[in-house]
């Protein structure tokens, strides 16, 4: 049989990344909250998705970053390593380069404030709105959390309702609870 072997396939995917020919690379990363679809542009990690439908994610990446989208493990390895460490409990902050260039100014500002919420702590939507200089925009902050392109790394699971309830999470409340329990924010 003359089939492309997994080794040959991997070598091509690695070479494509090594030569800097990709607009975006992606791969799946195993985690306690299910397989994560993780993508990186030339600038940094640009997408983390739960329950990803690869076809749709591919189209979105091609639309946002360019047609040269390829599954390739190598460019995703730094993110895989840091996520593994986070889930093992040995990492509290992420040091990955992130690509949020395509987001609107307001979203970027809110996500920048979100990134400062420490491991194991929570804030309310209203507090985060205040820190983003828009104290009355709690609802808009909720929308930004819901559309966060980089969950876990940008910790929208640390944002809860004013009444102390978990309220909502794009990946489902069960995952939000798992992450907060992992961080010791809830018992």
């Amino acid at each position: 049989m003359t089939a492309v072997t997994p080794d040959l396939d991997r070598r091509f995917r690695d070479a494509a990344a090594d030569e800097g020919l990709l607009d975006a690379a992606y791969d799946f990363v195993d985690s306690p909250v299910g397989p994560l679809f993780v993508a990186a542009s030339k600038r940094g990690v640009c997408r983390i998705s739960y329950d990803a439908e690869p076809e749709r994610e591919l189209d979105r990446l091609a639309h946002d970053f360019g047609l040269r989208v390829l599954r390739s493990a190598k460019p995703i390895d730094p993110a895989r390593r840091e996520l593994d460490e986070y889930f093992e409990g040995t990492r509290r902050e992420f040091d990955l380069p992130l690509d949020v260039a395509l987001l609107a100014d307001f979203n970027r500002r809110v996500l920048r404030e979100l990134a400062r919420v420490p491991y194991g702590e929570v804030v309310t939507y209203g507090e985060l709105a205040a820190r983003s200089a828009r104290p009355r925009a709690a609802r808009a902050v909720g929308t930004v959390m819901n559309r966060n392109p980089l969950p876990i790394v940008l910790p929208c699971h640390r944002v809860i309702g004013a009444n102390g309830k978990l309220t909502g999470y794009a990946g489902g409340l069960e995952r939000k609870e798992t992450l907060l329990r992992l961080e010791g924010a809830i018992l």
Binding site: T2, A3, V4, L8, D9, R11, F12, A15, A16, E19, L21, L22, L58, D59, L61, A62, G66, L67, R68, V69, L70, R71
Partner: protein
């Protein structure tokens, strides 16, 4: 037709392109040529203006690389595998002669009779049109028959 993300183009064509290169070059050399084919396609991909004739385009790149590989002598080269399982034995017997044809005729013959592409695809791959592709293929076949008789 709009262009697909490269991942899909690669998934759709990698097996047949690899099979083509194995028949042309043998398994060992085909692996390098395979990688080079898709790297070259990846480099050129942003310059494509539409998603038509991509199969022919992939074969054209692979054919050029196979020809370059043939010209490069290698002491440890394996014998190419015979194309006996792909239902194209008649062409397989002529394939080695096709290398002696002028480039356009060779490409037209290989894509038409080896890979069953239609003339409009071949024309697009060669940067001409269906009529020119048909003419190139028949000129190539005439030349091959003469060679076979020699």
């Amino acid at each position: 037709m709009s262009l697909l993300p490269f991942e899909r183009f690669y998934e759709q064509h990698r097996e047949e392109i690899f099979g083509f290169l194995v028949r042309r070059l043998g398994r060992d050399r085909a692996e390098d040529a395979f990688q080079e084919t898709f790297l070259r396609a990846l480099r050129a991909y942003p310059r494509l203006r539409h998603g038509e004739h991509l199969r022919a385009w992939a074969y054209t790149i692979a054919s050029r690389i196979a020809v370059d590989e043939h010209r490069r002598p290698r002491a440890d080269a394996d014998l190419p595998e015979l194309a006996s399982l792909d239902g194209r034995p008649a062409f397989a017997q002529l394939e080695h002669l096709a290398d002696q044809l002028p480039p356009t005729e060779r490409a037209a013959v290989v894509l038409r009779y080896g890979y069953d592409l239609d003339y409009s695809d071949i024309g697009a791959a060669l940067g001409s049109n269906a009529t020119a592709a048909r003419q190139a293929a028949s000129a190539g076949i005439r030349r091959l028959r003469q060679k076979e008789l020699q």
